[in-house]
């Protein structure tokens, strides 16, 4: 019973190669059978749910014009609904992409960095530092400020 920080799972990792196989032809992908079935079941359940009111729901006759109007607190709506919006949202999305890629690079690193040791840690430090510089630039330029 080791009491250091970070115990790697003592139990055996599940094998990638399942022994028996799905109908004999799917040996490698046994672990994804569950995902496939969940997707299928989930699709059926959610589709059934979303279309529930379309099938069982009440239907009103006539006078659709008023009822189908979009909600505007009782006033007739004016102008197009899909106006342009602040470029800030776009800046957030850009930052998101860049940092998402950074995070995604960190996951593979996080699982092997014990093997990589100190050099591996310094590599990631450099990577984070360069991107951290980007964050500081964006911050100081005011792209993160909402006015």
């Amino acid at each position: 019973m080791r009491e250091t920080i970070g115990i790697t799972g003592g139990a055996a990792r599940p094998r990638l190669r399942g022994g028996t196989g799905f109908a004999g032809a799917f040996a490698v992908l046994d672990q994804y059978i569950g995902v496939l079935i969940t997707f299928a079941l989930g699709t059926v359940i959610v589709l059934g749910m979303v279309s529930g009111s379309m099938i069982f729901g009440a239907r009103s006759k006539g006078r659709r014009a008023v009822k189908d109007e979009v909600f505007e607190c009782g006033n007739p709506s004016s102008g197009p609904a899909r106006g342009r919006f602040s470029v800030h949202f776009y800046l957030v999305a850009i930052l998101f992409i860049v940092f998402d890629v950074e995070v995604v690079f960190m996951y593979p690193w996080a699982i092997v960095f014990r093997q990589l040791g100190v050099p591996g840690f310094i590599e990631m430090l450099t990577f984070v530092a360069v991107l951290g510089f980007g964050l500081v630039y964006v911050w100081r330029r005011g792209a993160l400020a909402w006015d």
Binding site: L16, R82, F85, I97, D100, V104, P108, G142
Partner: protein, 171 residues
């Protein structure tokens, strides 16, 4: 035909259909949605090719991040359906483009049909996060570090381009 091959064919047909949707649908938002579907289906193909890690990244980075940016821009600019094109030579050019595409696809397919490539056994941890990570952080160390600079340049450039030309809080 095995179960796996049938699944591959099903996904492949759906992928091609979704890709055609990207190109054919006049509404940019729907085009983007079709592209998201294409990318998701490609992730399934990646799983079938035992690239588990890359499949997950495909969904996270492509379907979950890049396409969100596309949708944001389409909505930001409030783009409507593309205008139907007029003019006779337009139709000729379009026809030529489609013809060229079909020729390209057939040509590539014919070229690749003859190629003989092994599809043999691979190590047990092939495509796992650990295998990809080991390769990435030993053999591809320099590209990895350069990536950070690429991303830095991208974020600086994008913010410069997209922000309005007013003096910001930069001293």
């Amino acid at each position: 035909m095995t179960m796996g091959a049938a699944l591959f064919l099903l996904v492949a047909v759906a992928t091609v259909a979704a890709a055609l949707g990207v190109v054919l649908h006049p509404n940019p938002v729907k085009s983007a949605i079709f592209l998201v579907v294409t990318l998701f289906l490609l992730a399934i193909v990646f799983v079938l090719l035992e690239a588990h890690m890359i499949a997950a990244l495909q969904v996270i980075v492509y379907a979950g991040a890049i396409m969100v940016l596309f949708l944001f821009v389409i909505m930001l600019l409030n783009l409507q359906d593309d205008d139907p094109e007029r003019g006779r030579h337009r139709y000729v050019l379009r026809g030529l483009a489609w013809l060229g595409g079909v020729v390209l696809a057939v040509e590539l397919a014919l070229l690749l049909r003859g190629a003989t490539m092994g599809g043999g056994e691979v190590p047990a941890d092939y495509g796992s996060a650990e295998a990809v990570a080991r390769s990435l952080y030993t053999d591809f160390l320099l590209p990895f570090e350069l990536t950070s600079i690429l991303l830095l340049v991208a974020v600086v450039g994008a913010v410069l381009l997209a922000q309005k030309q007013r003096r910001s809080s930069l001293p």
